[in-house]
Subunit: 129 residues, 3 copies
Amino acid sequence: MDIQTSSRTELIDITDRVRALVKESGIKDGICVITTRHTTGGIIVNENERGLRADILDLLEALVPENKKYAHNSIDDNADAHLRAVLLGMSETIPVEDGHLVLGTWQSIFFVELDGPRNRTVHVKIIKA
Amino acid sequence: MDIQTSSRTELIDITDRVRALVKESGIKDGICVITTRHTTGGIIVNENERGLRADILDLLEALVPENKKYAHNSIDDNADAHLRAVLLGMSETIPVEDGHLVLGTWQSIFFVELDGPRNRTVHVKIIKA
Amino acid sequence: MDIQTSSRTELIDITDRVRALVKESGIKDGICVITTRHTTGGIIVNENERGLRADILDLLEALVPENKKYAHNSIDDNADAHLRAVLLGMSETIPVEDGHLVLGTWQSIFFVELDGPRNRTVHVKIIKA
C-alpha cells in the first residue's frame, strides 16, 4: 500500500485500506500482519481522535526530542525519527475471523510518519489459519 | 478470554489461560497471537514478580503522567491510558512447538490494564505452521 | 539461534542469520516471527549504523535509568533491563515473499542485550501462507 505523507510527523489512518485488502484476499480465518519497510515510520493501533493524534506526536517529542544532539551519522539528521520508530515498532498483527479484522470499536490502524513528508509503503500480509 | 480488572492500572498474568487455549487447539506447531481489542490496555511479556509489576506501572507514570494536560477530547479524560497503550503495543506473537508455547522460564504473558477497573477481552489466535 | 553477547547493553545484528534460516526453510510465501525467550533482551528492527546503535542505548538509559531505585526484588539488581525489554517488545514479525524477508534497504533485525554479557537464544519461526 502506497502512502503519501504531508508533514514531518503525522498519523495516517489505514484501517479502511487494510480492511479492503482482507476482503479481497477472501481469507475468512487467520491473521493480518501490517508492516512498514521504513526505519523512520511505525505501525500502531489506537483510537483515531484529533486530540489524541496530537498527544501521540507530543509524547514522542517529549520522550525523544527532535532538537537534541544524537550520535547517528546521517545526512538527514533524523536520529529522532529512528528512535521514535524503535519505540513504536514496525509491525502489528491482528486476527481475522469471519472474513473481518478482529478490531475493537475504537481501534484504528495507523502508519506513523516520523520523518516526512515522503512516499511510504506499508505491507499487508494475510495468513490463513 | 474475559478479564475483570480491579484497579485503574494493573498487570494481569494470563499465561496459564493462554497455555490452556493452546492445548485445547490441538495445534502442535505454529504461532500464538495474543491481542487486545481495547485502546486503553496492552499486551506484554516479562517476568511476574511483585516488585517488577510495580516498576512497570511506575515507569508508565514517569513516561506518561496521569495528571498532565492532554489534547485528547474524551469524556473519560484518559489520554494517558491511550498513550501508555501505544508504548506497550496491542499484540504479542509467541511460537508454538510440540504443542507448547515457546516461552523462557521467566516469561509471563500479561494484559496490562491502563484505565480500569473494567471488563476486558483478550483474543488468542493460534495458527498452524 | 545462539548469541554470545559481550557487554551489559548491546545491539547484535542478526539479519543475515535470520535470512539464512528463511532460505533453509524453503518457504517462499509466509511470515517470519523472531522472538526472544529472555526477559532482559528485546527484538527490534531499524538501521544498523554505529551512531544510531549508541543513540538507541542512550535513549533506553534516558527513559529507564540504570542507577535508579526500583522495587523489583532480584539478586541481579536488573530492573532497568526488564523495563527496557518491556518498551522494546520480545517479538517482531516480518513477511516472507519469493523466499525472501520483506525488509526495506535500511532495515536490520537486532537482538538487544539489556543485561549482558550472557549466552542468549533467539527463536525464528517461519509460517507458510
